[in-house]
């Protein structure tokens, strides 16, 4: 990943999930997301993820991970550009998609 700008979001295929119970699966996605997003836990940052209905090339569902619990794929209802993309997406390793906010100043749920 080098010294490139850190992504604001990542779409992780569900095939990255590991373990036999939901907790292990949650942790396995968060482990990947923490690394890709370079979440600074020492500074109090956390990675949040949620399931999506979007599918990766391998057929599994994507999980959207961000550094805020209220972040959305699209601009939210009420925003001047509601329902339009908030991120510019690039291909990442292993079927992941890396998202970079189009408007860095507009970060929902990050404090």
């Amino acid at each position: 990943m080098g010294a490139a700008a850190r992504p604001d979001a990542v779409l992780i295929p569900s095939s990255y999930k590991r373990g036999s119970n939901s907790r292990q699966k949650i942790h396995s996605i968060l482990d990947v997301a923490d690394e890709v997003l370079r979440t600074d836990k020492a500074a109090g940052e956390r990675t949040y993820y949620r399931n999506t209905e979007f599918r990766a090339a391998d057929g599994s569902h994507y999980n959207l991970a961000t550094r805020g619990p209220l972040c959305t794929m699209l601009h939210p209802t009420g925003h001047p550009r509601e329902k339009t993309p908030r991120y510019r997406w690039e291909d990442g390793e292993g079927g992941m998609r890396l998202g970079y906010l189009l408007e860095p100043e507009y970060i929902i749920g990050q404090s």
Partner: protein
């Protein structure tokens, strides 16, 4: 201490913001609310395609302090947070659930004679953008 991969008890249950703590919480239920739509046609006798077109996330809280639920007006909207504790309180073992755009729908209270009073609060949730699920998970 190694993590047990087991959760027990809830803490820091908050609504409608990150400040207002709900107390005496005995049970929390989050439902992703996926609704499977089945498709069949032609010679199909069993559905041959399934898809989740819509999800309707919900949450339910149960508490020994029903008055706090009765004091919330139906329609109150905010963020519902709840931490499911690691069963052995291992560091990094807690799971924090965040339900964005949670709408307080209903409250019930009951208290049979000779028993603890109890209350139930029901929530529905919507997506801010119509595609992002409002329920997120992280490590607390």
């Amino acid at each position: 201490m190694s993590m047990t991969n087991l959760q027990a008890n809830w803490d820091a249950v908050k609504f409608p913001d990150n400040v207002t703590v709900l107390t005496k919480i005995q049970d929390v239920t989050f439902r992703k609310g996926g609704q499977v739509s089945l498709y069949a046609a032609d010679l199909d006798r069993i559905a041959s395609v399934a898809q989740v077109f819509m999800s309707a996330p919900t949450a339910r809280l149960q508490s020994g302090n029903p008055a706090q639920f009765m004091g919330i007006a139906p329609g109150t909207t905010g963020t519902l947070l709840a931490t499911h504790k690691d069963a052995k309180l291992a560091t990094g073992g807690d799971i924090l659930y965040t339900l964005a755009n949670a709408i307080f729908e209903d409250a019930q209270t009951n208290g049979p004679h000779g028993s603890w009073g109890a209350g139930t609060a029901d929530f529905k949730a919507v997506s801010s953008d119509g595609v992002t699920h409002p329920l997120t998970f992280t490590r607390a």
